[in-house]
């Protein structure tokens, strides 16, 4: 995993807000992301987990090119992307509240990002892809529906289909389920993981919800106060949270750099995140 040939490579990323854009006399500068190194290998789903305000969304937006980096770099494999505008990065982004275009129906929302010509793909290609995408997210036949008539869960499925339609080399998901109620969230998170794997998408999934992170991701990174403090497989992370802060955030039984029952790679209780329901396997004291 140390060698990333094809995948996201973030080095020393710093994002600041309220910076001296007006001439540098503004003193209220907050550093949202403070020197983060991050690799996501091709085909991998990595969850960024952290409490609200820890900078995970800022990091995601910086990777998408929506937030300028004050320092550091973003690259895909060997291709530097720091100065590349958002629309040429080939990354998809799914927002917390979908951000569907209200003046376009479901089909035309999904088709928006399909390339081919400068302004879109030829019609038959487009229609076929839209149909396939809507099938993938379980909304076959919804092409003509107005997005305003969709329920919250349906809207997020359409947003997912729209993000996946152009086959982005990296899909960034910004708390995609947190605006939904809990029942729906628990249902959708397993589905979402399955869709991502079916599509073989490389994904960076930002969330503040442990269950979601452990369910959907191959690896989980924990962010606290702008720093990426630990990246590990879910079971390894639980077994060895590395710092008291991480342990406290994860709600593990005893805060400490060496948890009381571990040495191996996490044991057999938590073998992976792909089984639906594994979200409930989090150990409780």
């Amino acid at each position: 995993m140390a060698e990333v040939r094809d995948g996201l490579r973030v080095r020393g990323a710093v994002v600041r807000y309220g910076s001296g854009a007006q001439g540098g006399r503004d003193a209220a500068v907050t550093t949202a992301v403070d020197g983060v190194d991050l690799d996501v290998a091709g085909g991998e789903v990595l969850a960024l987990l952290g409490p609200s305000g820890c900078g995970k969304s800022s990091l995601l937006r910086a990777i998408a090119g929506l937030e300028p980096l004050s320092a550091g770099s973003v690259a895909w494999g060997e291709e530097p992307l720091t100065a590349v505008p958002t629309h040429r990065r080939g990354f998809g982004l799914m927002f917390q509240d979908g951000q569907l275009f209200p003046h376009r129906d479901v089909g035309r929302n999904v088709a928006y990002g399909l390339r081919g010509t400068r302004w879109g793909a030829p019609r038959p290609v487009r229609d076929e892809r839209v149909t396939a995408m809507l099938e993938l997210v379980g909304l076959a036949g919804y092409e003509r529906r107005a997005v305003t008539t969709l329920s919250g869960g349906q809207a997020q499925r359409v947003a997912l289909a729209r993000s996946l339609a152009p086959s982005p080399r990296l899909l960034l998901l910004d708390e995609p389920l947190s605006s939904l109620d809990r029942r729906l969230r628990e249902d959708l998170v397993g589905e979402l993981g399955a869709v991502l794997r079916t599509a073989g998408t490389t994904a960076l999934y930002v969330t503040h919800d442990h269950d979601e992170a452990f369910t959907v991701a191959d690896r989980v990174g924990v962010m606290l106060e702008g720093r990426l403090v630990r990246v590990a497989k879910p079971d390894a992370l639980r077994a060895a949270p590395a710092t008291p802060e991480v342990a406290a955030f994860l709600g593990l039984p005893r805060a400490g750099s060496e948890p009381h029952r571990t040495t191996s790679d996490g044991g057999s209780r938590v073998t992976g995140s792909r089984h639906p329901g594994s979200a409930r396997l989090r150990p409780r004291a």
Partner: protein
């Protein structure tokens, strides 16, 4: 019921009389007047001027205003507040003043005299754009600054270039706001009176100007009545379109706090971020327009301070005189008249407007109740569209004989001005009232407050906050009102705009200089009133 009776007496009755005058001769229905007037090529020329000036003025104001809205509301830069204030100035300026400023700029001796545009069609259109640019910027900008930027970002993340994202995502979201602004601007352009009168005279007369000419110059009241009906049709159509646009506006937009949606203007490469071509283009257009907005005002100010090639205050000193055989009273006396009338008109407009707004803010449970309220809403907004000239002319022919003879009465001018100001008062207060959560009233009721007490303790204090704005609007409108006043003011008690117009019509360098100085005085007064009112504006209220 009281405000409705007032509206009926001082709006519906005069307008109906006016319309009747066009249809009825000697007690019998007679469409001969229509046939005659509508058969005259002069009429169609006038209608064509009205529509083409308004359409062209609207299109240019919108095309220039949308980039302006982007730069001044979506982007931040040092000095933004100052530029926004500057852009808002022309809209509150009395149209007589705008006319004078453009004449000063374009006259053969003015800084742009070499263009030869004085008293031409382009000059009128330019003045209309000048007048309404700020309105477009404000109406579009206040929606744009709260538009959720993530919708556009979603498009960018899907591979859309900044231009494609702007055209396919942002623009459709703004269309209702733009349409709404365009309809209103068209309305103002189509009813522009003093501006066209000062800049175009009879050569480029619009329907409004023609009504005035027919009434005051040719004393042909029948033709004027028919033309008023024509004007009512034009305005009615514009209002219908505007209403449609406003309804479309209610489509749910993803709105956020403006602080989250704005970003610094990117004109040069900085912090590793390239300059944005969209920003550069929009900023260039806006800078040019702002310079053009400042130019006539600066010219007017400079020329009011010059005489025979030297700096002087003599034009201002002359304001204490009646000019060179031009006036019956001194300009300062006229100013005092204006202020006195404005106080009266403001009191009337605020009392009636507030009452109407209270009624309009109710949400009746029954369907007929809602219908009636919708109708009332339209009726109240009518004076905004029915031009001041029509109001003034209607007063002139309806209220000059029994049962009501008010022509020589001093109350006529304030009432006419109040009619023009009422829609603005309603528009300033109504959003505040509508924004009051009905549950607040319900909470008061469950605590044992009767209807009267709820009004007094819940609605009252909240509305008071918008009162400043309403008073400011009414006062400024009344001070600058010319259309209706020009029909109604008595020769011995002219108002400041009337005096300015009269000074312009008299020969002599001294009179012209006085007109400029008086315009500056009027502009400063209106500006001061509006600035104070803006300070009192409660957050997120009022559109105009």
């Amino acid at each position: 019921m009281m405000p409705l009776a007032f509206l009926g007496l001082f709006f519906a009755y005069p307008v109906a009389t006016l319309v009747g005058r066009g249809f009825v001769t000697d007690g019998a229905l007679d469409l001969g007047g229509f046939a005659e007037v509508l058969g005259a090529p002069r009429t169609w020329r006038v209608v064509w001027h009205t529509l083409s000036q308004a359409a062209l003025g609207t299109v240019i104001a919108v095309v220039l205003g949308v980039p302006g809205a982007y730069v001044l509301y979506r982007r931040t830069f040092p000095g933004r507040r100052v530029v926004r204030a500057l852009v808002a100035v022309p809209f509150v300026l009395p149209s007589v003043v705008v006319g004078v400023a453009f004449r000063a700029l374009l006259a053969p001796s003015g800084p742009l005299g070499f263009l030869g545009l004085d008293r031409t069609f382009p000059a009128i259109v330019a003045a209309l754009v000048f007048f309404n640019y700020g309105l477009v910027v404000r109406m579009v900008g206040t929606v744009w600054e709260r538009l959720d930027p993530r919708t556009e970002q979603a498009a960018r993340a899907l591979g859309a270039s900044p231009l494609r994202a702007a055209l396919t995502v942002t623009l459709p979201a703004l269309v209702p706001a733009i349409a709404s602004a365009a309809a209103l601007v068209f309305l103002f352009c189509a009813t522009a009176f003093a501006l066209v009168l000062v800049l175009g005279g009879s050569r480029y007369a619009t329907v409004e100007v023609e009504i005035w000419l027919q009434t005051t110059q040719f004393l042909d009241l029948r033709t004027a009545s028919v033309l008023s009906v024509v004007q009512l049709v034009v305005v009615g159509l514009a209002l219908v379109v505007s209403g449609r646009a406003r309804r479309g506006r209610e489509r749910a937009l993803a709105l956020v706090e403006s602080s989250r949606a704005t970003a610094p203007l990117r004109l040069v490469r900085r912090d590793g971020q390239a300059a944005s071509p969209l920003d550069v283009g929009a900023a260039a257009v806006t800078a040019a327009v702002v310079a053009l907005v400042a130019l006539p005002l600066a010219t007017m100010l400079v020329r009011s301070l010059r005489h025979d090639g030297a700096w002087t205050l003599r034009h201002y000193a002359n304001l204490a005189t009646t000019g060179d055989r031009a006036l019956t009273v001194s300009v300062w006396e006229a100013t005092a008249n204006s202020l006195r009338i404005a106080v009266d008109a403001t009191v009337i407009a605020v009392v009636i407007g507030m009452t109407l707004a209270l009624v309009l803010s109710r949400r009746p449970a029954s369907r007929t109740g809602r219908r009636a309220l919708g109708a009332l809403d339209a009726v109240v907004m009518l004076p905004l569209g029915v031009s001041a000239v029509t109001v003034g002319f209607g007063f002139l022919i309806a209220l000059d004989r029994p049962p009501l003879d008010l022509r020589s009465s001093l109350v006529l001018v304030p009432i006419a001005q109040a009619m023009v100001a009422i829609p603005l008062v309603v528009r300033a207060v109504l959003p505040v009232l509508r924004a009051i959560d009905p549950r607040l009233r319900q909470a008061a009721a469950t605590l044992g407050a009767g209807a009267g007490r709820v009004l007094l303790t819940v609605d009252g204090p909240l509305v008071l906050r918008s009162l400043g704005l309403a008073v400011g609007f009414a006062f400024a409108v009344s001070l600058g009102e010319f259309g209706a006043t020009s029909f109604l003011s008595r020769p011995d008690r002219p108002t400041l705009p009337v005096v300015i117009f009269r000074l312009l019509g008299r020969p002599g360098d001294g009179n012209y200089g006085m007109a400029l100085a008086a315009s500056v005085v009027l502009a400063v007064m209106v500006g001061a009133v509006m600035t104070t009112a803006e300070r009192l504006r409660p957050l997120g209220s009022g559109e105009v």
